[in-house]
């Protein structure tokens, strides 16, 4: 058991600071984006799951080291401290100006993760399946394509398979499928992969002493040119509540009147 490959496996986890999932977002009057000032932010829920899986791999002695990385404004460091408190060994913050944050595309993040994964010889990169702000669902796949590594996206179960492969169950449209990917590989976490732990107070205190490296896209040599321009952000059409019906027979007759029921 002692030379189980895991002994040396290094895991990189991408975490993003997003508007908290429970917040009802509002579109800015200038239609350039949504209101983010004085709005509760937290770690993207899918990234919490990605991080939890990485920490579990470490606890199972499959992984040796877990490094959390976030690409964003200075406040992204709060999310990285949370990641450290939940079990990451160290953190990397790739800093962008507040003004530039809205121009960051998944491809820029993927380029940064690709550079770090290659330079520092990571064996696995785990990200959340999507960020709940841009809902893009791209970073993991872009990264895997750039590195020409296999991808296991929408993972709901991850197991080591020998010393050089992972067996991953994925959530697909009709149910589940199971694939085997060769390391190094990119994974993305779906909701059912695990239940993330809470950071305990002692661990939050300890996290303050863990290393947090600061880099910029320029340090990594990342091309930050824009490929997507947001022309306008608007409110979706508003649905009006139609009111209550008193009983089941009335409901059925109303639906028949509408022609949606025969």
């Amino acid at each position: 058991m002692c030379d189980r490959f895991g002994a040396s496996m290094r895991v990189l986890v991408g975490v993003k600071r997003v508007i908290d999932y429970a917040v009802k977002v509002r579109v800015r009057p200038d239609k350039k984006g949504v209101v983010t000032d004085n709005v509760q932010h937290s770690m993207n829920p899918f990234d919490e799951i990605a991080l939890e899986e990485a920490v579990k791999l470490k606890e199972a002695k499959v992984a040796k080291e877990v490094v959390a990385v976030s690409f964003g404004p200075t406040k992204s460091q709060e999310v990285l401290r949370t990641a450290l408190a939940k079990g990451a060994d160290k953190a990397i913050h790739i800093a962008v100006d507040d003004a530039a944050v809205e121009k960051v595309e998944p491809i820029h993040v993927a380029r940064a993760l690709a550079k770090i994964a290659q330079d520092e010889k990571f064996d696995v990169v785990i990200v959340g399946k999507q960020a709940i702000d841009d809902d893009a669902n791209q970073t993991g796949q872009l990264l895997a394509g750039m590195l020409k590594w296999p991808q296991a996206v929408f993972a709901s179960k991850v197991e080591a398979d020998g010393v050089s492969h992972l067996k991953v169950t994925r959530e697909v449209d009709g149910g589940l499928d199971t694939i085997k990917v060769k390391l190094p590989a990119v994974l993305s976490a779906d909701l059912r992969l695990n239940t993330p732990r809470y950071a305990t107070l002692p661990n939050i205190m300890k996290a303050k002493k863990k290393p947090l490296d600061k880099k910029t896209p320029a340090d990594l040599g990342i091309d930050m040119s824009a490929q997507t321009e947001t022309l306008e952000v608007s409110e979706p059409p508003v649905r009006k509540a139609g009111g209550f019906v008193e009983d089941v027979p009335t409901l059925i007759s109303k639906l028949k009147e509408k022609g949606v029921l025969q």
């Binding site: 491809i107 394509g145 750039m146 449209d173 199971t178 952000v233 509540a241 089941v248 639906l255």
Partner: protein, 331 residues
């Protein structure tokens, strides 16, 4: 001078248009085409270029015959290879890249399903371009709308990527007609498919006689209010009486009442049926993201303050354990 210049620019425009071309990556299970591909073809048609469809699979020839009859499709590229079983993204990407090398498409698109979302951004990574996910409206060949923040805002974006990599939200585009087309069919360029990276081990699909959730005309969904998996029988009985598909909220999936492929919402299926009946579902932001474009929404809930009532055309404040069986009986 002026006229010659305008003639020149018109020639350039016409020539440019002739060379614009779109590749739709077909989704299928080696037997049948996935319905979302028909929606993706309608989305692709709005880009205003000739449409080719790539059918890659272990049994691609059969599906390719079906695809050649779809309206608006000009050419079908068939890549039949045992190695493509299970449609692994690494292997399908190899085939797409070979076709792209040959034809230099200006857009490569697919439906925004688990398959499309796996493959399109991976191809984008190889080509080093920014993809655009889950497009709900096409304004021109480079400008699109897509929902962000769980559908609580709509972003209108312009892509300057040299090749547009797009997934289309199925419910936002009508399905293309399955008859009336007469596409030419040819073998896709043979390429080395890397089989080292990944391997398909198997799948466990939920079997159901009911219509497909994503395309059903009527959907009945249950939530935490059902209290148990056994009680979901009430939902199935009502759905069967109506010929409806059955969906669920995340709470119902997490509680183990139903499998996760039934989840409707931001991270599950997006549906937009004629009639959506939400039973015992409070209406969290993440659930609304998956169903608020339904034509008529009905909510059955005993909590009068439940947010679902704010989007429902017809609300019934009632105990679902009484109302649902009554409804099944009366239909």
């Amino acid at each position: 001078m002026l006229s010659s210049r305008s003639l020149l620019s018109r020639t350039a425009r016409v020539a440019g248009r002739r060379f614009n071309s779109t590749l739709v990556v077909a989704e299928h299970n080696d037997d049948k085409l996935a319905p979302v591909t028909l929606n993706a073809i309608s989305g692709a048609a709005k880009l205003g270029a000739d449409i080719s469809v790539l059918v890659a699979g272990a049994n691609a020839t059969k599906v390719a015959g079906e695809v050649a009859k779809i309206a608006n499709v000009k050419r079908v590229l068939v890549a039949q290879d045992e190695k493509l079983k299970g449609a692994l993204p690494e292997r399908v990407t190899d085939v797409i890249l070979a076709s792209q090398e040959q034809f230099k498409f200006t857009s490569i698109v697919a439906g925004a399903s688990a398959f499309g979302r796996s493959v399109i951004p991976r191809v984008a990574g190889h080509l080093n371009v920014s993809p655009i996910s889950d497009v709900t409206e096409v304004h021109s060949c480079d400008t699109y709308s897509r929902p962000i923040y769980a559908g609580n805002a709509i972003a209108k974006v312009k892509s300057t990527a040299p090749v547009k990599l797009i997934t289309f939200r199925g419910t936002a585009f009508p399905p293309a007609a399955t008859e009336g087309g007469s596409a030419t069919s040819e073998d896709a360029l043979k390429t080395d498919i890397n089989v080292e990276l990944s391997e398909f081990l198997g799948q466990e699909l939920s079997k159901s006689e009911r219509p497909d959730l994503a395309t059903a005309k009527i959907v009945v969904s249950g939530g935490r209010g059902l209290k148990s998996g056994d009680n979901f029988k009430l939902i199935y009985d009502l759905a069967d009486k109506m010929g409806a598909a059955v969906g669920a909220s995340r709470a119902a999936v997490d509680a183990g009442y139903v499998p996760n492929d039934m989840q409707v919402g931001q991270t599950g299926k997006i549906v937009a049926p004629e009639l959506y009946i939400a039973v015992g579902i409070s209406g969290a932001i993440q659930h609304l993201a998956g169903m608020k474009d339904s034509k008529v929404i009905v909510a059955i809930n005993k909590d009068k303050e439940a947010p679902i009532f704010q989007v429902a055309d017809f609300g019934l404040e009632a105990d679902l354990f009484k109302a649902v069986p009554e409804m099944t009986k009366l239909l």
